[in-house]
């Protein structure tokens, strides 16, 4: 079965290839085709996993070469797929969650005239995501990496007649492109130093990288990861990306693509570890992003934007974990997050579906009555995220925070706890604002159809169970599975006892939810009370500390200024010189009427002048 690994990405690719041209004829059936193919890919992944599990842990890494891709000079890159625990974990998440979201999308997108195209792009996305995670080669990974970016672009801008969507799509692509460019450089640099881009060659310990090289490479890879995963400072595209259809936000901008950065860091951890500064930087970025995005999320009234910031915050925690070399912890959070964040997005999709595409929390409230099922799903997801035991988020987050405490980084631990607390607050807030209290905007609301609830139910189950099943303990099932790739967890010494940690963790989660309840849930306080009371702070939060605005200013003012200046230079100076030269020659020709005055005697004079000078010249040579 391992030899047939290529089937896993090939199936959704086939879906895209079929649906794209035939989309119009297929109509709504396109969604079923797409879902079936992703489902089949999931099945194939499971089959491969099964075979993988049958092998001894040390042999659980197989490389399948499909064909030679690029070769020139000493450089060669193949299309090779890697089957190992890490790639299979990702593949399962992608296909599994992907299949469910596809399924959901069948209902959600049913009435869109371009549903065929939607599913074609969606399938294409899954294909690229699978290429990304299954690649055994950085260049192929880059292909997937860019491919998912493309699909993200296409899907964010799916409703491209809306200028906001079109702009958001472009912004997402361009912002991540900055990271991608760095990633590409990192890959090139890696090849220069390691002579290969194959994971088995580069990461297997066969090649020694100098510390400097490793630092440079890992920083460049990190830049790529930061862009893709919307971490500080390249995060600005993610909130805007919510312009896309909600399934897109769920699949691409919550469950899978944005976690590719985490995957990259985990995958490349030998390189990061070879550098002294890379991992601490990963840690710092992760922690900073987690807190920053958490605070920003609290300021959002658009439910999807709030969720987007929360995604960023959660991924920050994953980076944080990876930065502490707790790769399995990061992966656990990734897996759990995939399911509960997808659940959250899709249930908010239900809300939008029911309210006629309403996303403003201020115009919701009390929805638990009209859409109780959805409210349940949202609550499950939110509580899972907030870290309420025994939902999955609790385990994933708790392990990470606890790990921080034992690794001797007390400050990091405190900050991580703060991040956890903030996340409890920000996720409970939309829950309460949307579902608790009274309707603030009277109007029809209806529950989503059954077809859209079943995937949610499955995701909810996942949100409840994954944590406990895969990561009951830090060295849980997932950690054990991943150990051939990530190595064993190295706990630090000291730190508070487990019980204390548990308590703190619980307190943080519950406290956060409680705070949110106090602030927004009880119905006593209006959503806008806080902005009214502390307009400045609310403004900072709502605008995510004005980072986006700063960037926009930088692009608009000095950037565009430079552009205008260069354009002017091009027109006036560079081209001006050319035209000026032409003009000067033409101007020189204006002496013609002076020389050629029509006076025959002038002609004779010129003649004599020429003759005399000529004779003088010759005379001077005698």
């Amino acid at each position: 079965m391992v030899e047939l690994t290529w089937l896993i990405p090939a199936l959704p690719l086939a879906g895209a290839a079929v649906i794209l041209p035939a989309g119009r004829r297929l109509g709504a059936r396109a969604g079923w085709v797409a879902t079936a193919l992703v489902g089949a890919a999931f099945a194939a992944s499971v089959a491969v996993l099964a075979e993988l599990l049958s092998l001894p842990a040390a042999d659980r890494a197989t490389v399948v070469t499909v064909f030679r891709w690029i070769a020139a000079g000493r450089f060669a890159a193949d299309v090779t797929l890697r089957v190992d625990p890490l790639s299979m974990t990702m593949a399962l998440v992608v296909t599994g969650v992907g299949a469910l979201i596809h399924w959901y999308g069948v209902g959600y997108m049913a009435h869109d005239p371009r549903v065929g195209r939607f599913f074609a792009f969606f399938n294409l996305f899954v294909f690229f995501m699978l290429v990304l995670v299954l690649a055994n080669d950085y260049l192929l990974l880059y292909l997937g990496w860019e491919g998912v970016g493309l699909c993200s672009y296409l899907l964010i801008g799916f409703w491209h007649e809306r200028p906001a969507a079109a702009s958001a799509a472009k912004k997402a692509f361009v912002t991540t492109r900055i990271g991608d460019a760095a990633l590409l450089l990192g890959i090139v640099l890696l090849w220069i130093h390691a002579g290969s881009l194959r994971f088995d060659a580069v990461l297997g310990g066969g090649t020694e990288l100098s510390t400097a090289a490793a630092t440079a490479i890992s920083l460049l890879l990190l830049a790529g990861a930061v862009g893709k995963s919307a971490q500080l400072p390249l995060h600005v595209w993610l909130p805007d990306a919510m312009e896309g259809p909600t399934p897109v936000s769920a699949l691409i901008h919550a469950a899978t693509m944005v976690t590719a950065g985490v995957y990259l860091v985990v995958r490349s951890h030998p390189i990061f570890e070879a550098s002294a500064v890379a991992l601490p930087l990963v840690l710092a970025i992760g922690l900073g992003s987690a807190i920053y995005a958490g605070l920003a999320s609290i300021g959002q009234f658009d439910v999807k934007r709030a969720l987007a910031y929360s995604t960023m915050s959660q991924i920050g925690l994953m980076f944080f974990a990876a930065g502490m070399r707790m790769y399995s912890g990061a992966m656990l959070l990734l897996v759990c997050h995939a399911s509960y964040k997808a659940l959250l997005f899709l249930s908010s999709g239900n809300v939008m579906h029911g309210l006629g595409d309403e996303t403003d929390l201020r115009r919701m409230g009390g929805l638990r009555r009209e859409m109780p099922v959805t409210a349940t799903w949202f609550a499950v997801g939110a509580l899972a995220l907030a870290g309420i035991p025994p939902l999955s988020g609790f385990f994933a987050k708790d392990h990470i925070v606890a790990f921080a405490s034992t690794s001797g980084r007390t400050a990091a631990w405190v900050l991580a706890s703060l991040a956890a607390f903030v996340s409890a607050v920000y996720i409970a807030r939309p829950l309460f604002l949307a579902f608790a209290g009274e309707r603030r905007n009277p109007g029809r609301a209806h529950e989503a159809p059954l077809g859209m609830q079943i995937p949610l139910a499955l995701l909810a189950a996942g949100s409840v169970l994954t944590g406990a099943v895969l990561g009951w303990r830090p060295e849980g099932l997932l950690d054990g599975f991943l150990r051939p790739v990530t190595g064993a967890l190295e706990h630090g010494e000291g730190g508070p006892s487990e019980a204390v940690l548990l308590l703190v963790s619980l307190a943080v989660a519950v406290g956060g939810v409680a705070l949110a309840w106090w602030a927004w849930g009880s119905g006593r306080v209006e959503p806008e009370a806080f902005p009214r009371r502390r307009p400045e702070l609310a403004g900072w939060l709502a605008h995510a500390f004005y980072v986006d605005d700063l960037y926009a200013w930088l692009v608009r003012v000095p950037g565009a200024g430079l552009g205008r200046a260069l354009r002017l230079v091009d027109d006036r100076v560079v081209d001006g010189a050319v035209n000026g030269l032409g003009r000067d020659v033409a101007r020189a020709s204006r002496v013609a009427p002076v020389i050629q005055s029509g006076f025959v005697r002038s002609y004779a004079l010129l003649f004599l002048l020429g003759a005399t000078v000529l004779l003088l010249f010759l005379g001077s040579r005698i």
């Binding site: 690029i70 000079g73 880059y142 292909l143 860019e146 493309l150 590409l184 552009g563 050319v578």
Partner: protein, 524 residues
């Protein structure tokens, strides 16, 4: 079988009937021209099949003394550098013709000029005699001048004259350099010759090499174009008819870097190494500069034109990395830029045919009514911004790889072009196709079958190269490696030891018996 002669001159056969056949209606003239071009494409594919991919040297060489008195011969051949350009030319010409199928204005003359242009472009890619190359290179001017000037738009006259004069100005230096080289062959071998393979054997002093290198480089740089010699390009591209733009962008711009590969490296290896870094800097400046200026454009065609400045910067950068990776990448990039920018111009032509504007301020929302056209444009855009899986990526990546090996900082700076490329190209796409559709564009029709026939082959080629570039690279690589070895093998001060290093690199060629290399010490 004289493959290359057939290839080059087949299009000319179509001209007499076009001009003389009284019954040639516009439709028949178009059909005839298309037929001839397709036949030529078949020949080009034949050349591709006959081409031995493993060999580095010139293949399918044909040599007929032409003006033996001055050593001018009809000498043609292909190697890894030219084979794909030849195929690209034969491929793009019928496609560009199809794109102009609606032409109603002086059709027969247009068709005749197109065929002439095809011959001339093909000729300049296969010529191995410097004067023959120059002849073809200059002969481009007349048909191109008329194509832009007669069938162009807006400031077509200004653009056509500027294009012609600018190019002539550049090639002026090349001509003098070629003549100087001839002079050296006549000195050193006792018999003047324009044969590239003999000129390789010249022993030239470093100072001489430098001046000649500069002369060639300046002339070719105009054609590329390299900043700051690029300003003819936006005008010419913008005002040219679609066919003209496609031929310009896809093919004519390639003559510049092709000439650098063929002549600057081959003839002046030492000078090439001396100048490599400076040229790299120039190329990178061009990459960034072109991109930034492109961003500021409102005319979508002009924007694409500036993007060419940026992209061709990559090509030049790749060449002067003097690494096999960079050079192969550059050759790839030449081919790819031809496809992707060609497709962009084709798509813009289709947009223009419908909306009669290229101003992005007026355009917008067209994707809703013409999704296929938007898709075509998008594929071209994505290729142009170097999305892996599409053709451009392969070349760009290899160039960056090579550049990193040679000058890491240049590579880093060049990569910024990738980011900027995404910005302006996507912005152009957005402003053209996204957003609410204007009322007057609501009734636009999507691609016609003919237009699909234009777009699909190019898209297919782009995908094919992006996913499986090996057939292309395998034919390029031996040649690049040969040239890189040649350029590197020459130590400073022993440039062009007569018959020496190049001979060992490319053992297929031996100087004719009559020509005796002069002793090394005799060189100037």
């Amino acid at each position: 079988m004289p493959w290359l002669t057939l290839l080059v001159f087949l299009p000319l056969l179509g001209i007499p009937p076009l001009l003389l056949w009284r019954g040639a209606t516009d439709g028949r003239a178009k059909a005839l021209t298309l037929g001839v071009m397709l036949a030529d494409l078949a020949v080009a594919l034949g050349v591709l099949i006959v081409f031995d991919e493993g060999r580095a040297g010139y293949q399918l060489v044909e040599r007929v003394p032409w003006v033996p008195q001055i050593g001018l011969s009809y000498l043609v051949g292909v190697d890894g550098f030219s084979i794909w350009l030849v195929v690209l030319t034969a491929f793009m010409f019928p496609i560009a013709l199809l794109a102009e199928w609606d032409l109603r204005h002086r059709v027969r003359m247009f068709m005749a000029l197109s065929l002439l242009l095809e011959t001339v472009v093909l000729g300049s890619f296969v010529a191995l005699d410097l004067l023959l190359f120059f002849l073809f290179f200059e002969a481009l001017l007349a048909p191109m001048f008329l194509l832009i000037g007669v069938w162009g738009s807006g400031r077509r006259v200004y653009a056509s004259v500027k294009f012609t004069l600018y190019t002539m100005l550049g090639s002026a230096f090349i001509l003098v350099a070629i003549l100087y080289l001839w002079f050296q062959t006549s000195r050193q071998f006792g018999e003047g010759s324009f044969d590239l393979r003999q000129m390789e054997q010249l022993s030239l002093g470093l100072a001489e090499q430098r001046w000649l290198f500069i002369a060639f480089f300046v002339g070719l740089a105009v054609k590329v174009p390299i900043f700051p010699l690029h300003t003819w390009l936006p005008d010419a591209h913008t005002e040219a008819p679609t066919k003209g733009s496609v031929v310009l962008a896809a093919l004519l711009l390639k003559a510049g870097p092709y000439g650098m590969l063929r002549f600057n490296l081959d003839l002046f290896p030492e000078a090439a190494r001396v100048f490599a870094e400076e040229i790299g800097v120039l190329a990178v400046v061009g990459i960034v500069y072109g991109a930034v200026v492109a961003m500021m454009q409102t005319d979508v065609k002009r924007l694409v034109a500036y993007s060419s400045v940026s992209h061709m910067g990559f090509v030049v950068l790749g060449i002067f990395t003097l690494t096999p990776e960079g050079m192969s990448g550059a050759v790839m990039q030449m081919l790819n830029h031809g496809l992707s920018t060609g497709l962009l111009f084709l798509a813009i032509g289709m947009v223009y045919a419908r909306t009669h504007t290229r101003d992005m301020g007026e355009l917008g929302g067209v994707a809703q009514v013409t999704p296929l056209l938007a898709g075509t444009f998008l594929v071209a855009t994505l290729s142009s911004i170097g999305l892996p899986g599409l053709n451009n990526f392969v070349g760009e990546f290899l160039v960056i790889l090579g550049a990193f090996r040679a000058h890491p900082w240049l590579a880093a700076a060049a990569v910024s072009g990738i980011v900027l490329g995404a910005i302006y190209m996507l912005w152009a796409y957005q402003r053209t196709f996204h957003g609410p559709v204007a009322e007057r564009f609501r009734g636009l029709g999507d691609l016609l079958p003919r237009e699909l026939a234009v777009a699909l082959p190019v898209v297919a080629a782009m995908l094919a190269i992006g996913v499986y570039p090996r057939p292309v690279l395998d034919r390029i690589n031996p040649t690049t490696e040969g040239v890189v070895r040649w350029v590197r093998s020459v130590e400073v001060g022993q440039a062009g030891l007569p018959g020496g290093v190049r001979g060992s690199v490319q053992p297929e060629y031996r100087p004719p018996a009559g020509i005796r290399p002069s002793p090394a010490g005799e060189g100037p």
